[in-house]
Symmetry: C2
C-alpha cells in the first residue's frame, strides 16, 4: 500500500460518488427506516441509576432529543454493507488490469465474516475465481455461506502469521490478487456509498413527510454514526460527508479493549493490535492504517464513543422487539451510543437543545436464532 | 349476535372497502415484501426423508413453484393486524351510537394478546375509556403494553367462566360496550382491509417490476394464505376476495388439536372448543361462529392446511435469518404450509405447473428475545 498519509488525500467525496456509479447495478439501495418508539426512548433522560459507576454518577442525566434515520444495510446483499466495498474493489481491479487478467488470476482474501461472503458474491457475479482463507474454527454457517457463492474456502490457523502463510502459498500457486477487508482505498470508497444514499433518502423522506425531522426546517442530517471495526465503513462515510455540515461519529464496544480507535485517539496514536471477544464480532479488529488517517482527522470524524456489552444487548433487544428488524450485535453499537453513552448524550444536548436528526447505519444482520438464544437465553 | 348464517350475507367486499375508508387515517399501510431466497427454497422439492411418517412416504416429493408476496402486518400499529379490526369496531360504534355515549360508557374486552393492545390503542386515540380483562397469568410485557396505552387492566382467572364473570361485573358497573376479539362483523371487515391493500400493492409492485410475478403476464394473485386462530383475519381476507379469482387458504398448527378449523371442515361441523399450548400462541382459540360461516364456504375459502411445531419453527428461522424480519410464531404458519405441507404443495403443482404468486399475511411480530431464546436455545 502507498503511504497512507499521502493516499488519504485522494479519499474525497468525488471518489465516493464515482464508486456509487460503478456499483449501483450490483448492490441494493437499502431502505431508510424511522421508528417513533426509539425516538421517544432516546429522547428520555436515562435513570440516575444508569449512571452509577460512571463519571456522571450523582449528576442529573442529560436530556437530548433525537430523531433517528436507520440505513438498513442488514438488507444489503449478503446481509451487510461489505457487499459495497467488495463489488467496488473488484470492479476497479477489472477496470485497471482488464477482465482477462483478473479472471485468470482470481482474487483472494482472509476473513471469517461478512467480507468473505461479499467477495465471494462479487467474484461469482463477475466470473472471477475467489479463494477465501478462513480459520478452521469458523462457524459452519459462515463456511457454507461463502461456499454457496462458489468460492474456494481454504482453511488456516487462527493467528495472523498462520493466515498470512496460507495466503502467500495460495497466491504463489494461483497469482490471485489480494482484496483486503477494510484497509484499502477502494474498499473505503465502496463502503462510503452507504452515506451517499443515506443523505439522498433523508432528503426524499423529508420532502414527503417534513415532520419526520426534529427541526422546523431541516437542511441536512445533523450527524451520522457508524460502528468501527477495521474502520472501512466509518472512513467511507466520513469521506463522503467531509465537505458537508453533517458530523460523523464512530462507535465501538469497550469490552476487552475493543475500543482501540477511541483509545488511540485519546493517546494520539493508533493502537495496532486488539484481542477481544466482544459480542459485536464484526468489531474485533484494530482500525486499519488508511482508515486511521481519516478517522483521526477531527475535520472528518467528530468523535468516537464506546459502549458496554450490556448496552449493545439492550439496543439489539429494542431493534428486534420494537422495530421488528433483525440486526447483528455489531450493527447496533451506534444506536447504543445514542441511547446509553452519557458523554455523547450531553454533547448532543449542548450542541442543540432542539435535538438532532441522526443517521444510524445498521451495518449488518447476519446472525442466527441460536446466536440470539445464546445472547438472551 | 344476530344469527351468523344470516349475518354472513352482509359480509361483502363492499363492506371491507367501507371499513378501509374508515380506518385508513388510523392504521399503517404496511409494506409488501418479497424474498428471492424464500422463493427458491419453496420452489425446491422437499427431501424424501421429510416425508417419512406422512401419507406421502415413499412417493416422489412435489415440485411446486412459488413467488411470495409478504404482507407485513408485524409492522402494523401495536405490531399486529388486530389494530385494523379494533379501530374499525370502535369507529363503527361511535358512528352508530354517537361519540358522547361511547366516551361515557367506554369499551371492554377480554384478551391476553394483541387484541387487548389494539383496542387499548384505538380507545386512547378516540378518547374512549377501555377496560381490558386479562388472566392473572398474562406475561408482564403484555400487561405493561396494554397499560401503556392508558387502558385499565382488570385481572380474572384463566377459565372462560371466570373471565365472563369479571366482564359482566365491570359492564354492570360502567356500562362498557363489549368489543369481541374476532367473532364480530366489524372486526372481520376491519381485518379484511389487509387483503385490500395486499391486492393493491401487488399491482403496484408488478407495474414497476413485472419480473416479480411467476407468470409472463399476471393479472391477479393466484392465492393468499393466512393463519387461522379465531378466524377474523382469514374470514376478512376471504370476504374481500370472494368475488375475485384469487383463492384463499387458511393455516393452523396441528399441535394438541389446534387445527380445529381443519378438523371441523373434515367433519362437516365446527369444533367448539380447543385446549392447546402450540407455540403459535395467537392460534390457540377455536374459530368463531360468524368466522366459521365464511371459512366453511368453499366458494370463499379453498382449504385449510396444518403444520407441526417443528415446521413452524423452521419457517420462523428462515424469516428471521434470511429475510431479517421479526415475526411471531403465529405469523409464519401460512409460509410453513407452503414450504412443508406436502398435500398443499401437490395441490399447487397440479393447479399450475408454472407455479403460483402467493400472498402471505405475516399477522404479527410481537415476540421477545427471551421467547426466541426459549424456542431455539
Amino acid at each position: 500500500m502507498a503511504d497512507p498519509s499521502v493516499l488519504v488525500q485522494s479519499l474525497t467525496p468525488a471518489a465516493v460518488h464515482a464508486a456509487h456509479s460503478l456499483i449501483q447495478p450490483y448492490v441494493h439501495r437499502t431502505p431508510l427506516l424511522t421508528c417513533q418508539t426509539l425516538n421517544t426512548i432516546a429522547s428520555t433522560p436515562q435513570s440516575p441509576e444508569a449512571l452509577t459507576g460512571t463519571p456522571f454518577e450523582g449528576q442529573s442525566p442529560a436530556n437530548p432529543k433525537f430523531h433517528f434515520f436507520f440505513k438498513c444495510e442488514n438488507y444489503q446483499r449478503i446481509g451487510a454493507f461489505k457487499a459495497r466495498g467488495a463489488f467496488h474493489a473488484l470492479l476497479r481491479l477489472i477496470a485497471e488490469r482488464g477482465k482477462e487478467e483478473v479472471q485468470k488470476r482470481g482474487v483472494i482474501t482472509h476473513s471469517s465474516g461478512n467480507h468473505a461472503q461479499a467477495l465471494a458474491l462479487a467474484a461469482a457475479t463477475l466470473g472471477v475465481p475467489a479463494y477465501i482463507i478462513m480459520p478452521e474454527i469458523s462457524t459452519p454457517s459462515k463456511i457454507a455461506g461463502t461456499r454457496s457463492h462458489g468460492a474456494e474456502v481454504i482453511f488456516s490457523g487462527s493467528t495472523s502469521v498462520e493466515r498470512e502463510a496460507v495466503v502467500e502459498e495460495v497466491q504463489g500457486r494461483t497469482g490471485a490478487i489480494l482484496v483486503p477487508p477494510y484497509d484499502d482505498f477502494n474498499i473505503i470508497c465502496g463502503q462510503g456509498t452507504s452515506a451517499l444514499e443515506l443523505e439522498q433518502q433523508y432528503g426524499e423522506l423529508l420532502a414527503e413527510k417534513p415532520q419526520l425531522s426534529i427541526h422546523q426546517e431541516s437542511k441536512a442530517l445533523d450527524a451520522v454514526i457508524t460502528p468501527i471495526g477495521g474502520g472501512g465503513l466509518n472512513a467511507g462515510v466520513a469521506t463522503f460527508f467531509s465537505d458537508k455540515t453533517t458530523k460523523v461519529f464512530g462507535a465501538e464496544p469497550t469490552f476487552e479493549g475493543a475500543d482501540d480507535c477511541r483509545r488511540g485517539l485519546d493517546a494520539g496514536e493508533r493502537v495496532p493490535a486488539v484481542s477481544t471477544l466482544t459480542i459485536a464480532d464484526g468489531l474485533r479488529t484494530p482500525v486499519g492504517l488508511l482508515n486511521w488517517e481519516v478517522i483521526a482527522d477531527r475535520n472528518k470524524v467528530a468523535g468516537v464513543f464506546a459502549v458496554t456489552e450490556e448496552q449493545i444487548k439492550a439496543a439489539m433487544r429494542l431493534v428486534l422487539e420494537r422495530m421488528k428488524v433483525v440486526v447483528e450485535p455489531s450493527a447496533v453499537v451506534g444506536l447504543a451510543v445514542c441511547l446509553y453513552n452519557e458523554e455523547f448524550r450531553r454533547l448532543v444536548e449542548k450542541e442543540d437543545p432542539e435535538g438532532w436528526d441522526v443517521g444510524i447505519v445498521f451495518s449488518g444482520g447476519n446472525t442466527t436464532v441460536e446466536a440470539i438464544a445464546k445472547l438472551f437465553g
